[in-house]
Symmetry: C2
Subunit: 422 residues, 2 copies
């Protein structure tokens, strides 16, 4: 055995790092990963995860859908399919998007392994190392991870209770370009944003679209929660207003099932071919089996009613969370009031570090996601994301109460510590 | 509307190209893509595709497997799962690999969306633009596409009727390194290689492993066909002999169903974490539904007998193809005699251009893949890949007969053309 070989086999980490690509050096476990391992213990009330609540999905019906699919059409469902996605499902996706005002051609849709794969492919097509991607502050942790993997430079744009602030976007574009840097796209979640839960109203959508068209910046509109509005329907999708400059990402993960891993991208025709080629190189083709499961479900089942059932289920949980936040959180905390989706964003006094506070929360049998996970620039230590989608309303109240206690103690401890130091 | 906007909206291609990443410039449709559109017409005998023949798969049984899965375990099957893949399936994958001599730990397996995704993730972790990947000459078109997308420089290594030639590998390593270039890994398909159908014997496996260990080059062993040996079992996998330096890729696409899109990578422990992070960034997690479908199938069904049925089905087709090649192809053609898998590689006189000949073959109602598709360097114009996996034996004979006629005519035409020119 050569000296070099034994050095590798003993696992000298520096030696191994030199064998990787530059982009791999930054592939490190996120803080959320280790957190989820703890939060999944049954005695913990997890307000951390974003798993949809499938208790509203009739499993007998789903079992029949898949049985019939294989019995009648198994030779197609179990075979390789089109790299772009099944033509029939792409037609049906047009009907789903029509609910949010989108008129689309099935030929401009690329079906993906969840909309996460669409994010990956869009990044692959657009991002050279150092390119700038604009995102909301805070933004979806999975998108930040993908942009990071393609070595983008993520620039956050201020978000308030009504979503991204157009004037902040103008300023961000100006200052990034003044530094000579290239902006590849704006990524945003206009409906019940992850992690903030806020909704971007129609007038801001129009204004942001105008800014991006004028500045030649593609808009990547990620919309997993658009059909999960509890109180009123969401405004029309941004893609409904602009078919040339918007790359729209959709998903069945929150309206049917995430275990099927079916999402899609609706893109301007000039991008479609590259997206298909990138997807084929990445996975050859999406699963015919899961695509046709969804296709048959959409064709034969009352899927709009099913979405309404999901909305009712989540609305009750949202109400439980907002009520118990009012009851149990300290007066110095503020939080968003989501009209749909899965998440509430809580802002605490700036001296609180939610990441450092996590072990105490775990001891109190409740978990959340610290705010820093949703920032690429290390901010967010004073905030946390709470999700109400999965636990029962009783468990939500229990968890929020416990967490309120932990926060109050932490504020008190900091306060007394401050007094001592002075 | 600004002048810039209208220039984009009219689709000025040069202007659009400037907005993409550098790697996207090379994302162009392959010659195989347009070919498959033609070859899928029912009147054409397609010897082009690599679709497994699912006529041996009992669909009633598969329908019951998925029905029971959802009825009994729908809440898990339809939910998000682990980024690394389902723990139970990873245990079962160890049993499948044991048939080829591999002793593995389920913790070192990452489940992927087909083994194509494993190729993509391995490329992502290792390849910086310009890095060298060594591959067989010829090699799998889908792997070449992925390496191209990560801007690798692909260097082919001679392959003969017994697979990759170890001495050619030594020379290739030497000459690449003499140019100061960095070799990231050797990619090869030791069993019934795609496209050549050849098998790498045990002694060459050992020799190639020794070379790569000594030279500190990872071996990526892609093994979709290893269990599809018709005449005798395949030699032990290369991974069975070297667990430190081999990255092993497996797939259920050829032994169960490609429509489920379930493959895996078995990697040295030092690579696992980065592979999982890369996969999460790419798709969040593989489908629990398709993973558990395979898991339940493996647990409850006679899957080894099912693989034997597939082998019988393909052996009859392989025999039909080899017999009719002898009967109908010209004496100046040679071809491989695969002991398993899907493919025969035909070498024609060097003046024949199989890509230019394709339209004539289509007129004669037969399709194949031109040899150039399997080379990154433009070679292979004198060769073609014929697959026997999908058509009936009768159709195979019909297709080979028609193709033999086209080739004989082409040789004659070239010959008379040559005489005329002189």
């Amino acid at each position: 055995m050569s000296e070099l070989t034994s050095r590798f086999q003993t696992g000298d980490p520096q030696h191994l790092e030199r064998r990787f690509a530059a982009r791999a050096v930054g592939m490190q476990p996120s803080e959320i990963r280790s957190l989820f391992a703890v939060a999944s213990r049954p005695e913990i009330v997890s307000l951390a995860g974003g798993m949809p609540n499938l208790s509203a999905l009739p499993m007998g019906m789903m079992a029949d859908v898949v049985h019939n699919l294989i019995s009648i059409n198994g030779a197609e469902a179990l075979q390789y399919g089109s790299g772009q996605g099944h033509p029939k499902l792409r037609e049906q996706i047009c009907d789903v998007m029509a609910l949010e005002g989108i008129r689309a051609n099935a030929d401009d849709i690329v079906v993906t392994t969840g909309s996460q794969q669409a994010l990956d492919l869009i990044s692959r097509i657009f991002i050279d190392p150092g390119d700038v991607v604009l995102v909301e502050a805070p933004s979806y942790v999975g998108a930040l991870g993908t942009f990071h993997q393609y070595e983008a430079s993520v620039v956050h744009v201020e978000l308030d209770a009504n979503g991204m602030v157009p004037e902040a976007l103008r300023q961000a574009i100006k200052s990034v370009r003044a530094e000579g840097r290239k902006i590849k796209f704006l990524y945003l979640i206009p409906n019940y944003q992850n992690p903030s839960g806020v909704l971007l109203p129609a007038d801001r959508r129009t204004e942001i679209l105008e800014i991006c068209r004028k500045e030649e910046i593609f808009v990547v509109e990620d919309n997993p929660y658009g059909l999960l509005g509890f109180d009123r329907p969401s405004p029309d999708a941004m893609r409904a207003e602009d078919s040339e400059n918007v790359i729209y990402l959709g998903s069945f993960s929150k309206t049917i099932s995430p275990g099927l891993r079916v999402g899609w991208a609706l893109v301007p025709p000039s991008l479609k071919e590259k997206l298909v080629i990138a997807s084929e190189s990445s996975i050859l083709c999406p699963s015919n089996f899961t695509q046709l499961t969804i296709s048959n479900y959409l064709a034969d089942q009352p899927w709009r009613d099913q979405i309404a059932s999901f909305c009712n289920l989540y609305k009750v949980r949202r109400d439980a969370m907002l009520e118990s936040l009012t009851e149990h959180f300290p007066a110095s905390a503020t939080w968003t009031k989501p009209g749909g989706g899965f998440y509430v964003w809580v802002t605490l006094p700036p001296e609180i570090d939610t990441k450092a506070m996590m072990p105490k929360a775990i001891v109190a049998k409740v978990a959340y996601v610290p705010g820093t996970a949703f920032y690429a620039d290390g901010l967010g230590s004073w905030a946390m994301r709470l999700s109400y989608c999965y636990p029962t309303p009783e468990r939500i109240r229990e968890g929020v109460k416990a967490l309120g206690g932990v926060i109050k103690q932490e504020i008190e401890r900091r306060h007394s510590g401050y007094e001592l130091k002075n």
